[in-house]
Symmetry: C2
Subunit: 507 residues, 2 copies
Amino acid sequence: MTKRLLALPLALLAGSAAAAPPPAIAEWVAGHQREIVGEFLDLLAIPNVAADRPNIERNAAFLKAALEKRGFRAEVLPTDGNPIVWGELRPAGASRTVLIYFQYDGQPVSPKGWAQGDPFGPVVRRGKWLPGEEPGFVENARELTSFERDWRVYARSASDAKGPIMAFLAALDALRAGGLEPNVNVRVVMDGEEENGSPSLIAAIERYRERLAADQMLVFDGPAHVSGRPTLVYGCRGIHPFRITVYGPKSGVHSGNYGNWVPNPALRLAHLLASMKDDAGNVRVKGFLDEVPTPTADELALIDAVPGDEAGLLKAFGIAEPEQPGLTLQRALLRPTLNVRGMQSAFVGAQARTIIPDRAVAEMDIRTLVETPGERLVARVVEHVRAQGYHLVDAEPDDGTRARHPRLARIEVDDSPLHAFRTPMLSPESRRLAAAVERAWGAPPVEMRSMGGSVPIAPFIQALKIPAVLVPVVNYDNNQHEENENLRLGHLFDGIVTYAAVLRMRD
Amino acid sequence: MTKRLLALPLALLAGSAAAAPPPAIAEWVAGHQREIVGEFLDLLAIPNVAADRPNIERNAAFLKAALEKRGFRAEVLPTDGNPIVWGELRPAGASRTVLIYFQYDGQPVSPKGWAQGDPFGPVVRRGKWLPGEEPGFVENARELTSFERDWRVYARSASDAKGPIMAFLAALDALRAGGLEPNVNVRVVMDGEEENGSPSLIAAIERYRERLAADQMLVFDGPAHVSGRPTLVYGCRGIHPFRITVYGPKSGVHSGNYGNWVPNPALRLAHLLASMKDDAGNVRVKGFLDEVPTPTADELALIDAVPGDEAGLLKAFGIAEPEQPGLTLQRALLRPTLNVRGMQSAFVGAQARTIIPDRAVAEMDIRTLVETPGERLVARVVEHVRAQGYHLVDAEPDDGTRARHPRLARIEVDDSPLHAFRTPMLSPESRRLAAAVERAWGAPPVEMRSMGGSVPIAPFIQALKIPAVLVPVVNYDNNQHEENENLRLGHLFDGIVTYAAVLRMRD
């Protein structure tokens, strides 16, 4: 079974950069690709796994210097864990303040499976690497002055998320080269433990609250819309994983000697899951969808304007139709999900044995909305399971419990769920941001009311209580968290344009 | 998750040897425990994994000599694989001939997990070893003249199936010591590849058909009834495993980005399984139970006379009630099963990921009857799956197939099913055998119309077309096929008595 998430094919990116970029910034980028890519390769060459403290500190020092070079007052702020890189730029005449969040740590690496061997030995490749292809790396990449838009930089954190850092630094350079400065006060917070859930950053909020104060928060992280168009994301769903275990006999028993007599937990789990969500994709857990809000007509107009090549997605995923034919992807994201993300009972394949298994396990996740917190939805699933006749235990059942209850199950809730957040799409701050991006590109950005997914930074956003918007710029098919992580250079160059525009938001 | 089949607790064996054994044979056994156990330990010390040809040949030579010592004409017969040990004893005046089947190979071993270290270094233990207990082996076991009935010999093949071989050899010795011989002609066939499915034996049937001819076949293998009473088994269910794969997206996709939109194969498999067998344990596949025969009143009387400590079994298995409360275990075995023996979709536990899995797999097994062959039952499952709207593929689906069919599944049928066999319980041969055992023990044996399980020897029985009955003597909780395989000495000693009685069947 493949362990890989599906990467979207390049064909879906054909719409990249649908509108023309603004001449001044784009021209500067075109003329300075060597410097931009060079500094990016330098940054990527510093290993940044959160547990590797000496290298984390090298990253922090590099980033502090990079900010200072752009006129920022910068500091490396201690926390209980990895340091925060903080910086501030106060241009003359700016009144409003934006806080921009970045992460500088990356996912742990296993060099096996990387075409280049070393995930911290960044390389440039002519296009996307597909399994089985030759590496095809560009030689002497640092000496080139121009790079094709479809070429990619391969390294850990190329997209998640040193790419956005580099786009931001280059945007500052581009503005300066044109004699411009941001017209907002810019505060920067760079997190060194995002891939661990940002514990030290969140713990340090009180200590540094004054340095983090702002009118608006921007998160420069995540992939842009699959169309490649500039993208604003006003929120994300939360995630609340839990596990259901249905108990059978204490240990597997012989399917011949006891088949038809000892109850089968895999079959019981099948009935339980089937009772939760019908075969047409409708959740049947009582109350699960009760508090789901209906978007306003104006919001719905923006939601329905999100471009969606659904035919292309179906083809890429290899499915004939969505779970509920007729429901668009964007409208599907307006609801919480109830998803089976994994399931196991005894063994399959060569290890399969002729038994009635001792248990069956389903790993579930619920994607939540602000209005439907995970705690409440899980409680409704618990009620549903009880209503199917199950006695719920909170530990492995003992003999007495087994003897008393024909149907036994356990529900274990993940202790680190991520909460949803959502900033109103139609607030003045949100419209100001959208207008800035639209001015730069001559076309409106893709505006998403909420990502389908979840971000570890949600608790940070909640704690700061600053309206937050994600401004993602990297390519969707970046192999984030996997081997062969990459950033498409066209996305990097366009990201510089977008970030420069954001830094010049009009009041 | 435990990989172990449930071993029944000793408490269930309390009824062992309910009737008094016949004095002459039992007395001889009591007085010759040292010789019996000693020869048994010698036999167990020869490794007998089928792939280990040199040791397989040492076993064959040992067994040939052991038969010759008991007056048999014995041969080691070549096959395409491991040799057959064959022997014949033609007592004066005997007219009928029984063919007795044994296996002399054992399951592959992994020393890890064996309390004694070496599975081929047999040891005697004071009672059953339970996980966490000290080994408690008996020192100098070969020098003892008497062993407690609850003591056990631990070694690979102790029960499966060198124990029955030893019981048979000692039964011949016991008869001789009393001046008796079998009153039937005895042919012995010892299989060296049973754990591989006996391919070479079955292929050699034509070559040795004359040597295998007999009026009745007895299979000296398998565990006796859990009560410990002498047991006759007139057949077994077949087993027909198959695998159902329900396809989702080509690879796992992000449960946040696409949850509620990309169909979930784990949920679909849950619905499919739930449609096959309802939550009360009734198979809902059309026609699945159509040809199941109704036993005659006389058969039913024997079936219902099988002792069953169902309360004890429920307790041992840790379940509150059977799948269909009110259905006895023996009556449950009269039907074919539809069992989920394994299930998997993506991952559970620490490896779980927030995805919509690419596929969900259920490993199934059907236990078949002579009247309901597996091919026919699987065909009905296939029809059922199609009736749920699935398009079935016979290989991984290609893009075109994926685009055309919203529901895609694959059913792969195991290419080495085992067939059922059944010898009439009420035939003269069957009654003669039962009468011999009853005479020896002063009480009727447990007579089972069919085992719930399946035996690899079924095709051999089918090919020979000789009415076959299993005469199992080893303890149920013998850890067959697992680490710490063992034979309870009380069962070995009682087995000698039972086999001696069988060899003295009256015409």
